[in-house]
Amino acid sequence: MHDRRGEFEAIYREHHRRVYAIALRFARDPDGAEEIVQDAFVRAWRSLPSFNGNSRLSTWLHSVAVNAALDRVRMRSRAEARLDPEVDLDRYADEIGRAMPAADVDLERAVAALPEGAREVVILHYFEGYPCAEIAERMGIVEGTVKSQLHRARQLLKEALA
């Protein structure tokens, strides 16, 4: 058991920065990001025995992390949004600057301020490289909605960054 834990720690050490980047952009606060990271790696731990090797481990882990992040967004939308609707964008920008020294903080802040839906689509398409069809499948919406969200997001980002 401990050997398996040791191997998993090596996987964690290699991939946690990638997962934390996804988590931070979805959560927009470091505490929420840590929860997503933990959730993602616990899911990966559970499912690792069934990982069939058809995809690269990094690709599979990335997919698990995106699912964990999307689930958290959905849960917040349903249960917490009314209680804690405000996101501290100053704190988020500080964390981005610390965690990603090369980041364009103004851009990250503008993305974080996008309306829900448009924000997730931008993260998945531009930061994570998912095609529109796959985003639609993961978010349970039609591809046309993804494209219209992207168009709307680009307009809002251009206005925010002008």
Partner: protein, 174 residues
């Protein structure tokens, strides 16, 4: 595409893909994984602070766990006659055999808890509750194994595990 569009696309494309957490998250993660392992619960009892929640503590998690309890109680009240307790019964053949076996075992479990409340003293009751939570955790773990991608199953396991590690009795009265 305008210059502003191109500029935006370039800025988005240059965004970093990695970020460093402010602290090492592995110790918390290792404890969370240990807590997941119902087959090796002693690993969860390691020294140090308790693991952070896997997901935010939401009423949904509690509701899911309570629904599991309440559902079991209803089944037990309907089918869990005391005379059947501890008596192995032949499971019928057919497509519903496995489900019937699970249902009967669940009824026996709930009936045993019901009798615990009626007859046991404080110490016995505490031991019974601990055993009940351990069994419930094992059942939740099996649910997760059967449906690894089901977030509800994961939340039930997490909630039950939290109840065990807190040493608190569930809200539902047995």
């Amino acid at each position: 595409m305008s210059d502003r569009d191109r500029e935006l696309e370039v800025r988005l494309a240059r965004a970093p893909r990695e970020a460093d957490p402010a602290r090492d998250l592995w110790p918390d993660l290792a404890r969370a994984i240990a807590a997941e392992q119902a087959t090796a619960p002693e690993m969860a009892a390691a020294d140090g602070p308790r693991p952070r929640p896997l997901v935010p503590r939401l009423p949904l998690q509690v509701a899911a766990a309570l629904a599991l309890f309440a559902g079991g109680i209803l089944v037990g009240q309907r089918w869990g006659e005391p005379s059947r307790m501890g008596t192995p019964e032949r499971v019928p053949d057919g497509p519903l055999a496995a489900a019937t076996e699970v249902q009967r075992a669940g009824s026996a479990y709930v009936s045993a808890l019901s009798r615990l409340d009626e007859s046991a003293g404080p110490l016995e009751r505490e031991q019974g509750v601990d055993a009940a939570l351990s069994t419930l955790q094992g059942a939740a773990w099996e649910l997760v194994r059967l449906r690894p991608d089901d977030p509800q199953a994961g939340r039930i396991l997490y909630t039950v595990s939290e109840a065990r590690t807190d040493g608190e009795e569930p809200t539902v009265r047995f």
